[in-house]
């Protein structure tokens, strides 16, 4: 009865099964790509927003913060920071600009990144755009 | 085979089920169970196989139908 269970069949199921589900995944990806424009409001991605994202990356913000829940868990979620800060870009800009260079004794503190006003504005625009993505109502509350 | 065809006839009868109601749902679930059990028992040939293998689809069907029943009653 040992050949009730053949290696070639096991292999076929591995290959067939993986291929099947990978194709399914590709199909779902197509569907997702089709329905994303309605959810991410890409028409609002101005050069400013794009530059804001670049600044976000080049200062490694993800190394402490989460953005839509992904990133490090050391500092607050920023996907909804625009909402949390009263839908006010100026508050965000002022917060980033006012970080002390030497930190706060005994506490976590955001580094001082020395961004100029234009850069601060781009970054805030990026965070504003991010807050408008349809995330199926995540996070559960404004605290993120 | 005849039995399968007769359950199929009931399956067709399902079409006019638009009144709803608990007994009908139960009835449908029971037909599901009978039909699927027949597939696994006769078509798949599990009737002549050791209990270990035979029980898996049957238990599966009982759990699935049972939980669907619970879900429908919750509504």
């Amino acid at each position: 009865m040992s050949d009730k269970f053949t290696k070639s069949m096991a292999r076929n199921i591995f290959i067939g099964g993986s291929l099947f589900f990978f194709l399914l995944f590709v199909g779902l990806t197509f569907d997702t790509m089709g329905s994303l424009p309605k959810r991410d409001h890409r028409e609002n991605i101005t050069p400013q927003v794009a530059n804001g994202k670049m600044l976000w990356e080049e200062n490694n913000c993800i190394g402490c913060h989460t953005l839509l829940g992904e990133g490090a868990y050391f500092a607050p979620e920023l996907g909804n920071v625009y909402t949390r800060f009263g839908q006010n870009k100026e508050v965000i800009k002022a917060f980033i600009a006012s970080r002390p260079v030497e930190g706060i004794p005994g506490r976590r503190s955001m580094p001082q990144f020395n961004l100029d006003d234009q850069q601060l504005d781009d970054l805030a625009e990026f965070l504003k755009w991010t807050s408008e993505i349809d995330t199926n109502n995540w996070p559960p509350n404004v605290q993120g | 085979m005849a039995l399968t065809l007769s359950t199929l006839a009931i399956g067709k009868f399902d079409l006019i089920d638009s009144i709803g109601g608990g007994p009908l749902v139960a009835f449908l679930l029971i037909t599901i169970f009978i039909k699927s059990a027949m597939i696994s028992e006769y078509f798949m040939g599990l009737k002549v196989v050791r209990w270990r293998w035979r029980m898996i689809p049957l238990i599966y069907l009982i759990i699935v139908c049972g939980l669907i029943w619970i879900a429908y009653n919750r509504a």
Binding site: K4, F5 | I32, K35, I39, Y42, L61, V64, I68
Partner: protein, 196 residues
């Protein structure tokens, strides 16, 4: 088919027919569908009105027709297995062909149904009911396609004389998978199309 099995009824078989691996796969697939069914049932009980409203839009006739088609084709594949067990490879091929033709019938009806839905502007994201309806039926649809591919492979091998009375595990394996596809549909159809 009950006659062919009568002789074996006394001493139980150690393993189900076909390759054991396919059974592990079948059980796994049943598990996936089972979870989907239950998710559907419980999700429905939370959105009763939405589900009942949307369910009116699905094509019950097409679903019922497909049930008939699948059970018939499942019966054909039973005959195919019975034929090869008696060593009649040619008959086995005919029955396999009949299975595939009926199986393709399912595909045609289903495609018609999908085009009807997409034509009406319904997609995965329309509402929760259609997320379930489309993902479950489409997922099942892909299993039908896969089942047909498996059966076609079996058919080709059979035509080249690959199976005999002694060695026909491939036929049984393909048949078992096809029955699983049928089994799932038998639960899926009443659940999604009819019960409310």
């Amino acid at each position: 088919m009950s006659e062919t099995n009568l002789t074996q009824n006394q001493n139980r078989e150690e393993y189900p027919p076909g390759d054991l691996v396919i059974w592990i796969f079948i059980y796994a697939e049943l598990l996936v569908f089972g979870v989907l069914f239950l998710a559907y049932a419980f999700s429905r009980s939370n959105n009763l009105e939405l589900f009942n409203e949307s369910q009116k839009l699905v094509n019950q006739e097409a679903g019922a027709l497909n049930t008939l088609i699948l059970i018939t084709s499942s019966y054909f594949v039973v005959r195919a297995v019975a034929a090869i067990r008696e060593g009649r490879a040619e008959q086995c091929g005919h029955w396999l062909l009949a299975t595939m033709i009926t199986g393709s019938g399912f595909i045609v009806v289903k495609l018609y149904e999908f085009s009807e839905k997409f034509g009406a502007g319904i997609s995965l994201s329309t509402n929760t009911f259609f997320t379930y309806y489309l993902s479950m039926t489409a997922f099942h649809f892909m299993h039908v396609v896969l089942g047909l591919i498996i059966l076609a492979a079996v058919w080709f091998k059979n035509r080249r004389g690959g199976y005999s009375q002694e060695d026909h595990m491939g036929v049984e394996t393909g048949a078992s998978y096809w029955h699983m596809v049928d089994l799932v549909w038998i639960i899926l159809f009443p659940l999604v199309y009819v019960i409310r």
